[in-house]
């Protein structure tokens, strides 16, 4: 009763069954121009009866796989759910599908393996790869980069308004009365000044706001480091200092969650303010109740996918989309002790 790995139905089988040429079948399945109603009908019947499905591999070899690839740095990055959701919405109704390739290692290799003819376009979050390399990649396949504030020639970019978002956080914390505000962010390589990563900008805005408020001397930046220092520890160390901060501005919600962990563990839940970024679904949970910046991840994902589709239809000049931000104030916005 064991079924052997069967050869599947090919376009030739359909052509034969419908009594037409392979070229004709190809046109029908692609809705291409120049096919008579009669032929279309016969071909569609044959396709139906045989249960024909075009081979993605053969199509890809010939030109298009009808797949868009989404590269994501960490499997867990909750923000990516939003992006994926948006991208899926954008391709609904087109023959395209979105697949996800988690990096978890060197980003170059994940991107390259996507580009190796598997997908027709790539959406990626890769702050670390350099622009020249990306321009080169974009020469082979359309690319949309998320969260790069550069102005490339060959690829498109989708970013949030990190200046506005970070500034909104700082203004909010100042208004609550905080002065000792610390910033919790990613490792140095992701926040290098001028690198144009979202986290470098949030950090820069943080510094600037502190300076403008005459609080430059209270500036404190802590970072998580991949395995060595989880964000919980970085936060805990901040809290253990002689004059600990009264507010923690976390670079994104995942870090904010860890910060909350540290704050709660230190028994300071209603003494220390914590803010996040991305407004992921958990932020609204009453047990988390995290103030966070919404940067419309779903819309960003949808825009990114749309840009790829445009490229596939021939657009060549680069596009750039900047998503507006919106601060959601929640219970983690504790006032400082007065």
């Amino acid at each position: 009763m064991s079924i052997k790995r069967g050869r599947s139905v090919t376009i030739s089988d359909v052509a034969e069954a419908a009594g037409v040429s392979r070229a004709a079948v190809s046109k029908v399945i692609r809705n291409a121009y120049g096919v008579s109603p009669g032929m279309r009908a016969r071909v569609e019947t044959a396709i139906e009866e045989l249960g024909y499905r075009p081979s993605v591999a053969a199509r890809a070899l010939r030109g298009s796989s009808y797949r868009l690839g989404l590269e994501t740095p960490h499997i867990n990055a909750r923000f990516m759910s939003q992006i994926m959701q948006g991208a899926k919405q954008a391709v609904a109704g087109t023959p395209y599908q979105v697949i996800l390739a988690p990096a978890d290692g060197p980003e170059y290799s994940t991107l390259e393996s996507l580009a190796d003819g598997l997908v027709d376009g790539i959406i990626a979050v890769s702050p670390l790869v350099d622009t020249a390399w990306l321009e080169n990649l974009a020469g082979r396949v359309p690319v949309v980069m998320l969260g790069r504030h550069d102005h490339p020639h060959g690829y498109d970019t989708v970013i949030g308004d990190d200046h506005a978002g970070a500034r909104a956080v700082m203004r909010h914390l100042f208004e609550l009365g905080h002065r000792r505000i610390a910033h919790l962010t990613e490792p140095e390589e992701v926040t290098a000044p001028g690198s144009g990563t979202p986290h470098s900008i949030r950090l820069e805005v943080y510094r600037q706001c502190m300076a403008e408020a005459g609080l430059g001397h209270l500036t404190r930046v802590a970072r998580r480091h991949d395995n060595a220092v989880p964000a919980t520890r970085a936060a805990a160390e901040l809290l253990a200092e002689p004059d600990p901060p009264t507010a923690l501005f976390a670079g994104h919600d995942d870090i904010a969650l860890d910060a909350l962990d540290a704050v709660v563990t230190a028994g300071l839940r209603d003494r220390i303010a914590v803010t996040g970024y991305d407004n992921t679904d958990l932020a609204a949970h009453p047990l988390i109740d995290l103030t966070s910046v919404d940067q419309q991840g779903v819309e960003m994902g949808a825009q990114a996918a749309t840009m790829l589709l445009e490229r596939l239809q021939g657009r060549t000049e680069p596009r750039r989309y900047v998503a507006a931000t919106n601060l959601h104030v929640r219970g983690s916005s504790i006032r400082p002790p007065s």
Copy 2:
């Protein structure tokens, strides 16, 4: 300065550069038998210099794409992170890569689109598709199903020990002194008796345990329904009943999070016990602090990927892996009012 969509380096280019045949290059890149050290060296140099990367499309057309596909029903399902992590671990060091295809729609179509020559093997969580259809799919490409307690011929299965896990939860709640225990689960179609889905078994065990304890009359089952009824509402309705339950046994952590939401919103955080399933990373967060059943998702993912690799190497008899479960008791294990 605009780069035109360049044709990339092919195996022929490498062959020419190295002064050998295409077949020879093919052998080298696949580490196949029968290639002299001299030739290998020349070919490898040429590959290096030209920056050659094999086309996945062409390879797939010819046999193997070296990609494994992971189908996941909802983008957000936190449990899938664990599976993905395990699968990636298992393929590390092999030429295989894992890609993720979120379903979000009819599962058949996602699975088929994966099977259309894109991947060499499929790992899927699809409780709803029927066995015959899967056997057929498995005839075309190796398949490992997660969470199906059936005994198929053509595909492999990886499951958690849902009987033991659910029983552990119930025993735990009884020991705490609970009698009014409600079960919060997925829509009917996923829990049909005898369907062999994990949720049908957890439900069945719940009913059985209640009956065994002489509490059959207190059995209460509530369900979320895709868009209409989020789990928060289902839970809230339970809590609003005349004699509300003192403990909520949620089918998995995502539902448990919603249950906690409802419990907190009703102001009953330290009156009602909540338990989850899957022990996702959030359960351990001090603000969530959710008692949950660990079913070794990472190990399950690793096993699934390993099974695919075995199939690709020729195994034909079906395999089945059952992961042990382990209850993690946390703060959400409230005692009932005495």
